[in-house]
Amino acid sequence: MTEPAVRIALVPHCSLTPAGAWTFFLATCGVSFGVAALLTLRGFWPVLVFAALEMLLLGWALYASMQRRHRVETIEITENSVAIDTCVHGAVVHTEFPRHWAQVRLRGDVSPLLPARLLIESGGRRCEIGSFLTEQERQRLAARLAPLIGAMAASPPLDTVHNRG
């Protein structure tokens, strides 16, 4: 196996542990539902509805943010291939494309309200990478990968691409 010329690992950073997230969430729920329960007992039940909605939103926000920690994406680029290993919860999905017939596409044209999708495509197959990144990070990654992978049916020499930087 040839040594990859370029290896990029995408690791979302999380400063919160799952235990910390649960503690924080439960403590917040305790305060919010505690107040709402007291008011509900006095007959002011609409507060409970809004408290529940808000805690749902907070829970979703924490969950969405914590999901980041379970994902590692490794992109290895050699002269001949582009290999992507996506590791989610320990399960690795390996996808490999011939570099000559691969291209990078940043699809942001679906809707300005939806996040753009960064895809590596070849021969009708595609693999999405960096879905957990912010829009700006994704654009930067796309700009970085494009010269390394090259356009369809083009294989720019990797050492030239390196030296250009």
Binding site: R7, S15, V47, L57, A61, S65, T134, Q136, R164
Partner: protein, 535 residues
Amino acid sequence: MATHAHTDAVHDDHDHKPHGWRRWVFSTNHKDIGTMYLVFACTMFFVGGTMALIIRAELFEPGLQFVDPQFFNSMTAMHALVMIFGAIMPAWVGLANWLIPMQIGAPDMALPRLNNLSFWILPFAFMLLLGTLFVPGGAPAGGWTMYPPLALQAGDSFPMMIFAIHLMGASSILGAINVVVTVMNMRAPGMNLLKMPLFVWTWLITAYLLVAVMPVLAGAVTMLLTDHYFGTSFFAASGGGDPVMFQHIFWFFGHPEVYIMILPAFGVVSEIIPTFSRKPLFGYESMVYATAAIGFLSFIVWAHHMFTVGMPLAGQLFFMLATMLISVPTGVKIFNWCATMTRGSLTFEPPMLFALAFLFLFTIGGFSGLMLAIVPADFQYQDSYFVVAHFHYVLVPGSLFAIVGAVYYWLPKWVGRMYDQKLAKVHFWLSAIFVNVLFFPQHFLGLAGMPRRIPDYATQFADWNMVSSIGAFGFGFSQLLLPYIIIKCVKSGAPAPARAWDSAHGLEWELPSPAPFHSWETPPSAAVIARGAEH
């Protein structure tokens, strides 16, 4: 994102930013959204300020001069709603957006699209609220507190106001959740909680307060709506409801809301004073604990806003003593700021001037707050101009001065240019003098017995009202200097270095000026964090 490229040395254009209107409408960049919040807040500040000037013009002398009493009452209610929900709170959220990711070494907020949504709700909320000025019956005129049954007597403006408040609340909740998740989960490796700048700490506690109290406000105004349109009797005495409970519920939200507006100001002042004293902040950890203590106490003092509705003696004593207790952690903060300045190499650039004015004038607001906490005294002061003077000292030279100080402190970092400091000092002195001319006489008016929210008054109050109105116009017009200074800075200011103030600490000062569109894509190193965390 942590991107590790072992052999990749490709550089590309670092400034991938969208252009034109899409950059702003679809923005998910924390700096752009922060800028939009600040511009929105500034606009609303002048809208709310114009309402204040209408009030003060009417009160310049006894009698009815310019507006009818109904419109006057609308102005008092709308001025409060616009200033609280449109100016002060969005300004703090704007500063949070600009600064928190840079200060904790994160590339952006945790949920950037939610961030976009939380901003874009606001203009619609305020179109709705300001739209009430043009509907039959006029804008809400029952005060920002919306006490029933008075609030229920409003015309077509009532459901519009309720819906606008729901939207503002939704915006605040989305913003607060984003701040909480960002601070908890997006800190750079090595940036533990007790290394965070105090602005981040105060905002974390503020966001927690917002999360805790906003459902209460949403529930309260929804119950008002159902009482009005769906025949419920939550607060209608005729149906067995309790209108006083609305006051309890409202102030359970309303008092933490005051701290939501002032805690980030503590954070800003804790950043500015050490920089211009050229000393680390005295008692960093005690500042954190004091902020948390103030946050906690804010939940158990709400009834001091309504001592006169009648409550058991034990309740009066509890709320009086709990309110007085707040002066302990606040005193810790004042002491620490003074101790930071002691034997420091002080210089008096515009941010420091605003921070010092905050220190003196907010303390005056704090003292009058202590007077109001004393139940027998409060029976005399309730609903008088003394109360108006008290909360304006807390919110104008308190919150507003801190916001202006923050703008003058971080503006070079935002735009990469230095502003006209001489003009900014003129702005400060005009503001500091006129704010006292405006609000200090209101203490005398209140003590002499002038009630608040009246368009006309007895001739005995004429002199101090005239002085106060002169102060209002002086203060209002002097604020036009702020946008002028900012525009002048953006257009022709001298280039600012990365560390615009020689002894500024914090991760944001490790970035170039202006801060790049994408900052901390690669998390800062431990050495950089350690340098930034020298509080």
